[in-house]
Amino acid sequence: MRKFLIGCLIAFMFILESIFVELLPGDLFSNHILVPHFLIITIFFFSIYANRNAAIIYAFVFGLLVDVVYTEVLGIYFFVFPFTIYICSKIMKVLHANLLVVSVISLLGITILEMIVYEINFLIHLTSMEFIYFLQLRLVPTLILNAIFLLIAAYPYKRIFEKYAGEGKD
């Protein structure tokens, strides 16, 4: 039952990203691009506080879903999601799993993800944006948006996933 709920939570985040972009007033987009990365944040918290291997499987599944449903270029998120989760959880092995550290590392994860996706899109000519503009227009506003999301969601996520992991052990 718990497992099912976690799946639902992640699926909801997947839908929420799209709704968020739809509903945000257009003025906010006037001179920058805000990209919600709620999905990867959720999976990352799951990987830290609950189960890393399951998290990587979630990352594969939802990466593929993002590719098919949203971007229509197969492979990019399918590859980048699990890769980011893996790298970040490797970094977390060295560090102390404190809520602040986890939040900062998840922002770092988003940076890695955005960079890789930018490079791939640049290579396949999906974007012609220059790197400087990418940083200014896209990366910095995105990080701020996701930092705000982390402020709201980090603590509840920790509670939920720790509870889930605790139940799994019993």
Binding site: A11, F12, I15, E17, S18, I19, F20, V21, E22, L23, L24, P25, G26, F29, S30, N31, I33, V35, P36, L65, V66, V68, V69, Y70, T71, E72, V73, L74, G75, I76, Y77, F78, F79, F83, V117, I120, N121, I124, H125, L126, T127, S128, M129, Y133, L137
Partner: protein, 292 residues
Amino acid sequence: MPQFFMNKRLIILLVSIIILVALIGFSLSRSKLTWPEQFIKDTTGWVQTLVSRPVHYVAGVIDNVKDLQDTYQENKELKAKIEEYGLLKAQVQGLQKDNEELQKIVDEYPSLNDKKLLKATIVSRDPNQWNELITINRGKNDGVEKDMAVITSAGLIGKVKSVSTGTSTVQLLSSEDPTNRISAYIQKDENNKKKNKKTSVFGLIEDYDKESKNLIMTWEEVPDGLEVKKGQIVSTSGLGGVFPPDLAIGKVVKVESDEYGLAKKAYIEPAADFYDIEHVLIVKRESSEGDE
């Protein structure tokens, strides 16, 4: 032992990069969605509708309350507009008559002009915003086909990129995809009519400038060509054979020569808002039904 593990990871990484490249290559070269993709899109589309409808409803109510505050101001503006409307109506009637007569002369050749509009609602929007895509709740079953134009009441917003059974994906004009080109023309300025006998300027909408949020249109410069000025209206020309003519695209903001001085470049402010979209219209072509 650690050496061995490092190797294993390296191999996994390499294999997944190969798969990545293969998948990207595959998805860039195909012209139609494969059936598993269509199935996934339709299913998620259905789930997304379940969630997004109530959310949109609530957002709509909040917007309505906000609108109430501006009602007085809007009412004033609308009244001013209604006065212009009577004048326009008379003009339109005259034009319609002219048009009918002219149509008879050209003997009803199949034109892209015969169009039918199909209403659709947005199901989801790509949150990653690289390739600006939205999903709408109409698909093959409703007669949607690839490359149909999609408009809002304000103007053109994009074209249908791919179709599955119950949903279809629209690529907005604001995507930077190089294949996203539209043949357009700049309408003659009314004051300019007498001085210049040249017809309108025809060109291609080739790019989108993310920084200024403007579309970029280019055309080859002709010696005694029409001078394009700020504020002129741009619409689709119908020359590409894909879009019907005379769908509004936007207004010229500034004009400049390109790097080599051979072509002109105009920045166009889009007429439609690419962000606050909820309902769209798909322009169905009558003539395309005859083709199949």
